[in-house]
Amino acid sequence: MHIVVCVKQVPDWDIPPASFKVDEATRRVVPPPGVAPVPSQFDAIAVEAAMRIKDATGDAKVTIMSMGSTTARDVIKHGLAMGGDEGVLLVDDAFTDLDSNGTATVLSTAIRKLGDVDLVLTGRQAVDWDLGVTGTLIAEMLDAPVVTFARSITVNDGKVTVERVLPDAFETVEAPLPAVVTVSNELGEPRYPKLQQIMAAAKKQVNTWSAGDIGVDATALAPRLTLEALFVPQVDSKVEIMQGDTPDEQAANLAKRLHEAKLI
């Protein structure tokens, strides 16, 4: 079977909140100096999900696909080091600042160009915009069923069986292939490639496609949703730290203040 995993390269999300900065004029995040972009967290877990299916079935081909700037090649390489077989890098000026609809149009068009794709995996949401939309849009565009928030995925007999994580329940859903599944962190940690695998990844094939290569034109990418503003909400820190020489004193003060505030 053929699995495509869509991985997005994003500014490093694992930075202290105090280091997070936005340029309001350009509506862009300003990463801290020297901090390289990374694969979106849930997308890396989607690659792990693909590897587990490949391990279980023994004969799956996994394509790592990313739309972005040329640096997105790094996230493809990482996916290949985890065990992916081939990469597709989608780069074009026309692909910058697309909304979810535009992004899904590019990805689904590239997936259709690959042909014979049985399963598309994405993270449940990109850790920059946190929308959780693109996977479902890809499914709509490919006219395939979508199952979201997977914590486990198994494939057999032309069907995918997904255990979904809901706030108060686990739900098992079955869908016929071809299908799209979005992956949640409950699936587990992505495997860490060994040096040998990282070196082998450098020899694996990565195709770079432009808008012309996949046959998508600007009108199909016209925005339906525009970004009007991006800002960091101001928080006035007015915390009252409890005084006290001992934890007993601090705790007693806290209980007293909470009682005074009618909270206990």
């Binding site: 500014p11 999300w13 909140p17 105090a18 997070f20 936005v22 909304d99 979810s100 920059d128 915009w129 946190d130 929308l131 959780g132 939309v133 479902t136 849009l137 709509e140 069923p145 979508v146 199952v147 979201t148 706030p167 686990f170 739900e171 859903v173 079955e174 869908a175 016929p176 299908a179 949640s184 962190n185 409950e186 339906r224 949703l225 525009t226 970004l227 009007e228 503003a229 991006l230 800002f231 960091v232 909400p233 928080v235 820190s237 915390v239 009252e240 730290i241 409890m242 934890p247 007993d248 601090q250 705790a251 007693a252 806290l254 209980a255 909470l258 009682h259 505030a261 909270l263 206990i264």
Partner: protein
């Protein structure tokens, strides 16, 4: 000419779920025309009379819709939206809403703004505000497609103040072509107070060091009649069940009192608890981000502070 706001009503145990009232409230305040509701499921028609504050409730009632599936509900919602022709469609950022909204938006040839916390009409176009970058930022979006579809974060909007139920209009639905099937469901509710409804939440973070140290969290929560929460790190490590996870990808809570113990306060966690009216932080790191959002704090080791706090709270309660 698209007009009015259509909201997705949700039912829980036969009763109208709180999100429904919040969506109706938000819809009324938009001033974008009459507000109507859509009710989708099997055997749900009777609940239509319980949905107040709307002009019309569109009902799609079919056995094929007894369980939520993306295929089934997206087609049903599409049928209603094409009949109602609204300018805005609102769903809750709930299990159903967050899964359904993108598919519905695509079928209607439009875009969706997810997990909004504020919205307004400006020059006839919907503008929405939503958290982004793990809760670190706020993004404001405007729609250049119609209708505007948006999901609303639970408890971010005030509920409508009752009102009369709307006229019921049944909408036809083609049940063929539902491709996915729910084959099992295991409910995983925590015992006691439901996290989203609790007035007091006591959350433990990775700094507790291990699952056994949650005993002080449980004890304080029990003492205050509240619920136990967990950071994502704690849930991922398997110390506490996923159902207790508070955060951007877990539960979003807004209790009167939120006590965070050994929680650093990473943005994705704050995204889940910043709606709390009062945050108390107990952490041995004075620079922990959690203190920026807290009203009260103790800089100290939970191992010493928590037993002392439990005793102090018991004393205060005994003296009342």
């Amino acid at each position: 000419m698209p007009n009015g706001v259509l909201i997705l009503a949700e039912i829980a145990d036969g009763e109208v779920a709180p999100i429904t009232g919040e969506l109706i409230g938000a819809a009324q305040r938009l001033g974008a025309g009459p507000v109507s509701a859509m009710l989708i499921g099997s055997g749900v028609e009777a609940a239509a009379s319980k949905i107040g504050g709307v002009a019309t409730t569109y009902v799609v009632d079919d056995p094929a819709l007894a369980q939520y599936t993306n295929d089934g509900y997206a087609k049903a919602a599409e049928a209603v939206a094409k009949q109602a022709d609204p300018a805005v469609v609102l769903l809750g950022q709930t299990n159903i809403g967050r899964d359904l909204a993108p598919a519905l938006a695509y079928k209607l040839g439009t875009a969706v703004a997810m997990d909004t916390i504020a919205m307004e009409m400006k020059e006839g176009k919907l503008h929405t505000t939503r958290p982004a970058y793990g809760g670190n930022a706020r993004a404001v979006n405007a729609f250049s497609a119609s209708p505007a579809v948006a999901t609303v974060r639970p408890k971010s909007q005030d509920a409508a103040a009752g009102g009369a139920a709307g006229a019921v209009e049944k909408v036809a639905f083609d049940a063929s072509g539902i491709r996915s099937k729910v084959i099992d469901r295991k409910v995983a509710t925590a015992e006691g107070v439901r996290l989203e409804d609790a007035d007091v939440v006591v959350t433990g973070g990775r700094g507790l060091g291990g699952p056994e140290n949650f005993n002080v969290i449980e004890e304080l929560a029990h003492l205050l009649g509240g619920a136990v929460g967990a950071s994502r790190a704690v849930a991922d490590l398997g110390w506490r069940p996923v159902a207790e996870q508070v955060g951007l990808t877990g539960k979003v809570v807004s209790p009167t009192l939120y006590i965070a113990v050994a929680v650093s306060g990473a943005s994705q966690h704050m995204a889940g608890c910043s709606g709390s009216k009062n945050i108390v932080a107990i952490n041995k790191d004075p620079d922990a981000n959690i203190f920026k959002a807290a009203r009260f704090g103790i800089v100290g080791d939970f191992k010493n502070v928590m037993p002392a706090l439990i005793e102090a709270v018991k004393k205060v309660k005994a003296e009342r």
